[in-house]
C-alpha cells in the first residue's frame, strides 16, 4: 500500500511534467498556427541558462529561473520575427506548416550543439534548493522534488488559467485561436498577443526542463530535449488544442507509466514503461483520433 502511494505520487509528478511540456506545445501551436518542436529546445536551453546563472554566476535560484524564462522568451520571439514570419510570407499554408516544422528540427540540432559546446556533454548538477531530500509521512517517503514539481506545476496552471480566462490578453488569445479573421476585425492585434503566448510557452517549457534536470530527475544533460518529446503522447491523448486536455492526458500517462514501472511483470520486457505512453497513444489514435478530451472545434487536420 505504501509503495502504491509512493508510486502514485511520483506518477502524478511525472504527469504534471508531461502536462507542462505539452502545454508549451499547445500554446505555441495556437500562437503561431503551426506545430513545431521548439519546446524541445526551450526545455534544454532553459535548464542550461539557469545552470549558467545559478551555478556559474552565483545568482539566486528563483531569480535565475526568471532570467532563464525571459531569455528563452526573447529567443523564441526572435525566431518568430526572423524565421517564421519570413516563411509564412513566402510559402502557402500547407508548405509553410511543413517548412516551420523542419526549421525547428534544424534549430533543435543547433540548440543541442550549443549546449554541448558551451557546457560540455557530461551530466551537471543544477544546485536546486531541494536536492535529494525526502519528506517522511509515516511509512511513505516522498522526494521533495516531486512535491515541488506538483506545487510549481499547479501554480503555473493556475496562472495560465487566470491569464487565459480573465485578462484582455487571454481573451485576445482565445479569439485569435478560434477565428483569426474575426479577431482581426475586432481590432485584436496578433503582434500584441504573440509575446505573451511565447512567454507562456517558454515559461512552461523552462520550468518543466528545470524540474526534469534537477538532481533527483537525473541531472542536467544535453539529451533533455529528447526527454521533452516523451510528452508528445500526452499532447495527443488530450486532443491537441485543449489545455485542460493536456493536463488530464499528462496525468493519466504519468501515473500509468509509473505504475508500469513498479508493477509490470518482467515478461513485458525492458523499457516497457518507457514505451507504454506511445502504445497507449497509438491505441487512442486508432479508436478515437480526436483524443480522449477533445474540444468541439476538433478537425483531423
Amino acid at each position: 500500500m505504501d509503495t502504491f502511494v509512493q508510486i502514485l505520487i511520483s506518477g502524478i509528478a511525472l504527469g504534471f511534467l508531461y502536462a507542462l511540456v505539452s502545454l508549451s506545445f499547445v500554446v505555441l501551436l495556437k500562437a503561431t498556427g503551426h506545430f513545431n518542436l521548439l519546446p524541445g529546445s526551450f526545455v534544454l536551453l532553459g535548464a542550461y541558462t539557469l545552470f549558467q546563472f545559478h551555478q556559474n554566476f552565483g545568482i539566486d535560484f528563483w531569480l535565475s529561473l526568471l532570467i532563464a524564462i525571459l531569455l528563452v522568451t526573447a529567443l523564441g520571439l526572435g525566431i518568430q520575427y526572423v524565421i517564421f514570419q519570413r516563411i509564412d510570407r513566402t510559402a502557402d499554408q500547407h508548405a509553410a506548416g511543413l517548412a516551420i516544422l523542419l526549421v525547428t528540427i534544424g534549430l533543435l540540432s543547433l540548440s543541442q550543439a550549443t549546449a554541448v559546446s558551451s557546457w560540455g556533454a557530461e551530466v551537471l548538477l543544477l544546485g536546486d534548493p531541494w536536492g535529494l531530500n525526502t519528506l517522511r509521512l509515516g511509512a511513505i517517503n516522498v522526494p521533495m522534488r516531486d512535491i515541488w514539481v506538483i506545487a510549481l506545476s499547479i501554480a503555473v496552471l493556475i496562472i495560465f488559467w487566470l491569464v487565459i480566462q480573465h485578462t484582455r490578453v487571454g481573451v485576445g488569445m482565445r479569439a485569435i485561436a478560434s477565428d483569426t479573421q474575426a479577431a482581426f476585425v475586432q481590432g485584436i492585434s496578433p503582434r500584441k498577443v504573440a509575446p505573451y503566448a511565447w512567454l507562456m510557452s517558454a515559461g512552461a517549457a523552462v520550468i518543466a526542463g528545470v524540474l526534469m534536470a534537477t538532481e533527483a530527475g537525473g541531472g542536467l544533460r544535453p539529451t533533455l530535449d529528447v526527454v521533452a518529446f516523451t510528452a508528445l503522447p500526452a499532447l495527443i491523448l488530450g486532443g491537441i488544442r485543449s489545455l485542460p486536455g493536456c493536463v488530464a492526458g499528462g496525468l493519466v500517462l504519468g501515473v500509468l507509466q509509473q505504475l508500469a514501472n513498479g508493477y509490470a511483470p518482467a515478461a513485458f520486457g525492458q523499457h516497457f514503461a518507457t514505451v507504454l505512453p506511445w502504445i497507449i497513444m497509438i491505441i487512442v489514435l486508432l479508436v478515437r483520433p480526436s483524443g480522449l478530451f477533445a474540444t468541439r472545434e476538433f478537425r483531423r487536420a
Partner: protein, 387 residues
C-alpha cells in the same frame, strides 16, 4: 472530306502525343541519358580502381543512406505526407537481413527479396493508420514508431542481440558470384569493393524505379492527391490504393537501406535506429530537395561526408576544439558537434531561402555555367524547327 478529317484528327493526335511523349520521356535530354549510363558504369568501375577503405566506406554509407532517402522522398516529397519514422523501417530491413542472410545464411537474392517484401508489408500495415491522420498527429505517430520499434527489437534479443547488439556477417553470394570476394580476370577484390558496387547498383535501380513511377499513371495519381486531394478523388483516383502504395515503396526502400547498413558494419544493434537518425533523414531529403530525383542522393552525400570531413580537417576550421566531456574554460565547438551545427544551419537556410533544395541550386549553377555553350548550340536547331 474524309481525307481532310482524317488528317485533322491525325494532326491533333500527333501534337498531343508529342507533348505527352516529351513529358513522359525517361531522360529529358541526352546529357541526363548518357550521364545516367556513365554514373552506373562508374558504380562498377570506381571500386575496382581504388582500394582506399576510407573512400569506399564513405561511399557505401552515402549509398545506403541514399536508398532509404529515395524511399522517404516518395512519401515526404511526392506524396506530401510527413514521416519521421524511417529508422523504424530501416530496423525492420536490417533485422530481416540478419535473420535470413546471416542466421539462415541464404544467398543474396533470397534475403534481399525477403527484406523488400517484409519492408513493403510493414509499410502497408502502418499506412492505413498514418493516412487517417494529418499534420501533427502523423508526425507524432511516426515518432512513436521509432520508440515502439526500439522496444520491440531490444526485447527480441534472440534475433537482434538486445541492447548490446550482435555481429552479423551477411551472405553476399549470388550463385558463383560472391560480392564479399569478387574475382575479375584473376584479381580478387575485397569486401568493401564488392559491397560498394552492389549498394550503388541498387541506388541506381531505386532512382530509376522512382523516376519511372513518377512518370507512370500511378505516380501521377500520388502527386495529384498531394496537390489537390478532393479534385483528384472526384477524377476517380483511389486515394487508399495510391497512398498505401507510396507507403509500401517508401518502407521497402527504407528496409533495403537498413539491410545494406548491416552489410556495411557487419554489426547491428537496435540502438542505431533512433530518433537522431530519423531527424537526419528528414534533413537529407529536405536539404537535397523534396520531390526531386537527385535530391536524396545529393542530401546523403552532404550529410554523410560532413562528419568525416570535419574530423579529418578539424585544424583548418575556426572555433573547433577536440572532443572532451569536461568544459575546459575555452569556448569552442567540439569536433563531434560541428556536423550537428552545420546540419542545423543548412536546414534553416535552405528552408528560408531556397525551399526547392540544393539540387535546384546545383541545377541553376549548372545552367549558368553551361549557358553560353547551350545558346550557341540550341539557336540554329530552333531556327530549323520553325522554318
Amino acid at each position: 472530306m474524309a481525307t481532310l478529317a482524317s488528317t485533322g484528327t491525325l494532326r491533333t493526335q500527333g501534337v498531343f502525343d508529342d507533348r505527352i511523349r516529351r513529358e513522359v520521356r525517361i531522360f529529358q535530354s541526352p546529357v541526363t541519358r548518357y550521364g545516367a549510363v556513365l554514373l552506373t558504369l562508374l558504380a562498377v568501375v570506381l571500386p575496382l580502381s581504388t582500394a582506399d577503405s576510407f573512400l569506399l566506406s564513405l561511399g557505401i554509407t552515402v549509398g545506403f543512406f541514399s536508398i532509404a532517402a529515395i524511399g522517404l522522398n516518395v512519401l515526404n516529397g511526392y506524396a506530401g505526407q510527413i514521416n519521421m519514422g524511417q529508422p523504424f523501417f530501416l530496423a525492420i530491413g536490417a533485422f530481416t537481413a540478419v535473420g535470413f542472410g546471416s542466421i539462415m545464411d541464404l544467398p543474396l537474392p533470397l534475403w534481399l527479396l525477403a527484406v523488400v517484401v517484409v519492408g513493403a508489408l510493414s509499410g502497408a500495415l502502418v499506412a492505413p493508420l498514418a493516412l487517417r491522420l494529418k499534420g501533427v498527429y502523423q508526425i507524432v505517430l511516426s515518432l512513436g514508431l521509432i520508440f515502439i520499434g526500439q522496444y520491440i527489437f531490444v526485447n527480441w534479443s534472440d534475433l537482434t542481440g538486445g541492447v548490446a547488439g550482435r555481429r552479423a556477417a551477411l551472405n553476399l553470394s549470388v550463385g558463383p558470384l560472391d560480392f564479399a570476394a569478387l574475382q575479375f580476370g584473376g584479381m580478387t577484390y575485397n569486401y568493401q569493393q564488392g559491397l560498394f558496387m552492389l549498394v550503388w547498383l541498387f541506388v541506381a535501380l531505386c532512382m530509376f524505379l522512382v523516376h519511372l513511377l513518377m512518370k507512370s499513371p500511378g505516380g501521377r495519381h500520388i502527386v495529384a492527391l498531394r496537390d489537390a486531394d478532393l479534385p483528384a478523388r472526384v477524377a476517380g483516383i483511389n486515394p487508399v490504393r495510391s497512398m498505401v502504395g507510396a507507403y509500401a515503396i517508401s518502407s521497402a526502400m527504407g528496409a533495403l537501406g537498413g539491410a545494406f547498413y548491416v552489410a556495411q558494419l557487419r554489426f547491428v544493434s537496435p540502438e542505431q535506429f533512433n530518433l537522431g537518425m530519423g531527424l537526419n533523414f528528414i534533413i537529407i531529403v529536405t536539404v537535397g530537395g523534396l520531390a526531386t530525383a537527385w535530391g536524396p542522393v545529393v542530401g546523403s552525400l552532404i550529410i554523410c561526408s560532413i562528419p568525416v570531413l570535419a574530423s579529418r580537417y578539424a585544424e583548418f576550421i575556426p572555433f573547433l576544439k577536440a572532443n572532451s566531456s569536461t568544459p575546459d574554460g575555452t569556448w569552442g565547438i567540439p569536433v563531434g558537434q560541428f556536423p550537428v551545427v552545420l546540419y542545423g544551419v543548412l536546414l534553416v537556410l535552405i528552408l528560408m531561402f531556397e525551399p526547392r533544395g540544393l539540387t535546384h541550386l546545383l541545377k541553376v549553377f549548372g545552367l549558368w555555367l553551361t549557358g553560353p555553350l547551350r545558346r550557341r548550340r540550341v539557336a540554329p536547331s530552333d531556327g530549323q524547327e520553325t522554318s
